[in-house]
């Protein structure tokens, strides 16, 4: 970062495919992503082990592009790594494609690349291919990143959103709504301050610790946009089961609750970027929970409910007065409720 002049900006020439493109790749991407599989050739050539691979892609736009607890670079690695991990796949290789707005500071691009490298290392994944395009001023919001990843499926682990069964415990790996709350505060539209950082984290280690504790896990899904509430409705729908939640058991940081109280928002519908929702037989839940609580990103893991055969497709909460109420269906733009 020190060698980068703070007056340098990405220009359209950086995206034209000529000498300046090569310079940008050398100075920013090669400098950070360097590994034996990241070559100058048209495609990475990689060994294939026996067994199956998991394969996924995701595009990332976030405003602001840096926020407490991370930036778009870290987010773009975590998102794809976590999608692979949810299938029980060890993340192996990633590609990344950048669309950068003309005038974006090179120093910021370097910070993003550095965060990607650090997160990829932690997740044990190699960045092996990339692409850079530059769009005119105003055509993109600073920088967009798309990452694609492949992972090696773990023997004996098969998870799917359709596998939840009555009798399963529903586990969430940490307090909910942090990322969404962090972004909301970082945009500073409502002039609220709170000490909240994004939960953005690569979760292959978290998944690994669970599958080492039990192979009998039915569903693992990362709660991203739409939060944990949206995931619960997706699973209830895919598995044709009902879900019962105990509202008092859903972990929410006090600050997140405070912000939600101010704006009339439901924490279960705020985005997470480092939280998994896990469905496993109740008999397996204690071992899974014990393993999770030892991990760096899942110390506050909790059982928040159970799967039932009743009311398929619906998520029902036991409320603080001991009555039952439907969790509202996810939908639409999150709008603060004031008046």
């Amino acid at each position: 970062m020190d060698n980068m002049n703070s007056n340098e900006f990405v220009t359209l020439a950086h995206g034209a495919g000529g000498r300046q493109t090569a310079e940008l790749i050398d100075r920013v991407f090669k400098a950070h992503f360097s590994n034996p599989d990241f070559t100058g050739d048209d495609a990475a050539v990689l060994p294939v082990d026996a067994g199956k691979i998991a394969f996924t892609t995701d595009g990332f736009i976030v405003s602001p592009f840096e926020f407490p607890g991370g930036n778009i670079g870290k987010l773009s690695i975590c998102g794809t790594v976590n999608d692979l991990a949810c299938m029980g796949a060890k993340p192996l290789y990633l590609s990344c494609a950048f669309v950068i707005e003309e005038g974006f500071p090179l120093a910021k691009l370097e910070e993003i690349a550095a965060a990607m490298k650090k997160t990829a290392d932690e997740a044990g994944v190699r960045i092996v291919a990339g692409d850079t395009k530059v769009a005119g001023k105003g055509q993109v919001d600073h920088v967009f990143i798309t990452t694609t990843g492949v992972g090696q499926l773990t023997e004996g682990v098969r998870t799917s959103g359709a596998f939840a069964r009555p009798g399963d415990a529903v586990i969430v790996t940490g307090d909910v709504g942090r990322h969404g709350c962090t972004i909301l505060l970082a945009r500073n539209e409502f002039e609220i301050d709170a000490d909240v950082t994004s939960d953005c984290a690569p979760l292959w280690g978290t998944v690994k610790s669970m599958i080492d504790a039990s192979r009998d896990i039915h569903v693992i899904r990362d709660a991203t946009r739409g939060g944990v509430g949206t995931v619960l409705y997706e699973i209830a729908d895919q598995s044709k089961v009902g879900i019962r939640l105990n509202s008092a058991d859903v972990p929410v940081a006090p600050e997140v609750r405070g912000v939600c109280g101010m704006l009339g928002l439901e924490p279960l519908y705020l985005a997470c970027e480092g939280r998994l929702v896990v469905f496993a037989p109740k008999s397996e839940a204690p071992a899974i929970l014990e393993a999770l609580r030892k991990g760096p990103y899942s110390a506050s893991a909790a059982i928040i409910g159970e799967v039932v055969a009743d009311h398929p497709g619906k998520v029902v909460m036991t409320t603080e007065i001991g009555a039952q109420s439907l969790l509202p269906q996810p939908g639409g733009e999150l709008l603060p409720r004031i008046c």
Binding site: F190, I321, A323, S325, G332, L335, R337, I338, C339
Partner: protein, 347 residues
């Protein structure tokens, strides 16, 4: 809380119809599942206390006109963004290029106007007595600073004449605690003389259950009654400072309530001294007669004359994602609450 819950659950007297006239009560009652613990003799009706639900379509049309034709930046509570106007909602206008900014407070809209002197900023002033002081403070602040690019599009409403219009819709009102925090309790005491019963209620589970239990107990005598069950916030005299401020900045006027029609002297508008901050005058808006979907029964829902589920549009043409009536748009609207938390547990 347990005592209150027991009183409610074990009630088996004559039929009691209780109307909550605050959207936040509606929302909390559904969220907590309170309807599920009620015996069949107690019916809760969601009345017209959600400002979004009673905001007429024509008001949204005016806001859209200000944004699209006059290029004004619309500052609004998030609640209003998806309310359908005759042609489109503010969300629709935004996708056509309108500048629509969600704010937490009307005072934030004044700050925005100060920071953007080249833009005309219009705050959508909806809400009841609780919210009116905030709008009045914003206007006073703008006036004190001489901000020429700030104005409000007014649709503020007051509850007293609405209670009178709704007399007979229910056996007792659950009065909106935060309105009474401003107005005090004299208006409710006066209603007792007209035979209208009610209690002022707070918003936590404890407070709502306690208020309902008090209604159950006091109904036994058959005499009209009033109790303040939100003692920790509501004083009998309300907020003298807020009332004085409101009287300085605004004056009563007739107001249109979506679904209910015009209720005389149930609204507030800026006094002539603050006319410079009235967006309707500033931009010479023509009179607007908004059109609502004629099949929508929001008006009857608000008066307790029918349930959301009695409306043909409910759950089919009208859902939270594609609302037809305002009661479906607002998270606090009776129809939205029914749809989202409603009695569809058994299919």
């Amino acid at each position: 809380m347990e005592t209150a819950k027991q009183i409610i659950e074990s009630y088996d007297g004559r039929k009691l119809r209780i109307m909550e006239v605050c959207g936040t009560h509606t929302h909390e009652i559904f969220r907590l599942g309170i309807r599920r613990i009620l015996p069949p003799q107690i019916e809760l009706i969601s009345g017209p206390g959600c400002p979004v639900c009673v905001t007429p379509a024509g008001y949204i049309d005016e806001a859209v006109m200000l944004a699209l034709e006059h290029g004004a930046v619309i500052c609004t509570f998030g609640d209003l963004i998806r309310v359908p106007g005759s042609e489109m909602s503010l969300a629709g206008a935004r996708s056509k290029g309108a500048a629509v900014k969600t704010v937490y407070s009307p005072l934030d809209a004044v700050d925005f106007a100060r920071e953007n002197p080249d833009k005309q900023v219009v705050f959508l002033a909806v809400g009841f007595e609780t919210t009116v002081p905030a709008a009045c403070l914003a206007v006073k602040k703008a006036a004190a600073e001489g901000l020429a690019n700030f104005s409000i599009l007014g649709a503020n409403k007051t509850m007293p004449n609405a209670y009178r219009a709704l007399k007979g819709s229910a056996d007792a009102f659950l009065y909106p605690g935060h309105v009474n925090a401003i107005t005090g309790t004299a208006v409710c005491e006066d209603l007792v003389k007209l035979g209208v019963s009610g209690v002022v209620a707070g918003f936590t589970a404890d407070e709502i259950l306690t208020a309902l239990a008090v209604i159950v107990r006091l109904s036994a005598s058959g005499e009209p009654f009033f109790r303040n069950c939100y003692l920790r916030v509501v004083r009998p005299e309300g907020s003298p400072a807020a009332l004085k401020l409101m009287d300085t900045v605004m004056e009563p006027c007739d107001a249109e309530w979506r679904g209910l029609g015009v209720i005389p002297m149930s609204g507030l508008k800026l006094r002539p001294a603050f006319a410079a901050y009235d967006a309707r005058l500033k931009f010479s808006l023509p009179p607007v007669a908004g059109r609502s979907n004629p099949a929508c029964r929001c008006g009857e829902v608000l008066q307790g004359k029918c349930k959301s589920t009695d409306c043909k549009l409910f759950g089919t043409a009208c859902t939270p994602l594609h609302p037809v009536g305002a009661c479906m748009v607002s998270n606090e609207g009776a129809c939205s609450a029914y749809y989202q938390y409603g009695d569809i547990l058994n299919g």
